[in-house]
Amino acid sequence: MASSNPETESNNGSSIAKEPEKPQIEAFRMPTMEEMRAQEVWNNCAVRSVASGVMGGGLGLMMGMFLGALDNPIMQEEMTGRQQFMYTMRQMGQRSWSSAKAFAVMGLIFSAAECVVEKARAKHDTTNTVVAGCVTGGTMSAKGGPKAACAGCAGFAAFSVLIEKFLDRHT
């Protein structure tokens, strides 16, 4: 495999004026220990769930800022322009922080549950997504009692399956 590379390169150099350039095929290299360890980092459930939590927090921040900016202040006539601006800023900050927390927790629980289930089953399926969605929905609506927990479980599981199918639609 190592000998075929210089041949393709010399062929390309001589015929580049006549034909369009062929894609270079690289020789296959076995992964080194550093590459394997770097890949192993992402197999760890804790690392994955924390990363998902951070991403969820970022998403919640963006969404909260956007939705908070759309809110109009109640007292528009009494405050000057600068006061209105400060009020809007504080509203946006509060909304984005609370939404960031909610989304971060959701991302963390979902990712942790999916990782643990997939490692235990040793299969890559939609069942992992369903179970993880049910756990996430159940814990997030656990305060409303068992009925609310069941409804949250079913709803979030269905939502996660839809999102998963949407994200994998081209396979």
Binding site: N43, C115, E118, K119, R121, A122, K123, H124, D125, N128
Partner: protein, 84 residues
């Protein structure tokens, strides 16, 4: 040739044994990789990386294969005849 080696093990014999051992190891690795690939990896390739389920399956498959292989090797080498 035998006069040069006071230890009694012929050089050619040692080479032959090493070659047999190497063939055995290569065959073991190939069979292990083939078996665990067929068992664990879904044939409809969706992405190039191994996902976590496949990693976990491969870990278990290799561990089982290795353990059973060493157990059978010990039984065959100790017993001489398989108890059948």
């Amino acid at each position: 040739m035998a006069a040069n080696n006071p230890t009694g093990v012929d050089k050619e014999q040692a080479f032959g044994m090493a070659e047999t051992e190497m063939e055995y190891r290569v065959e073991l690795f190939n069979r292990l990789a083939q078996t665990c690939f067929n068992k664990c990896v879904d044939k409809r390739y969706k992405e190039s990386e191994l996902n976590m389920g496949e990693n976990s399956c491969i870990d278990r498959c290799v561990s089982k294969y290795w353990q059973v292989n060493s157990m059978i090797g010990q039984l065959l080498s100790a017993g001489g005849r398989p108890p059948m």
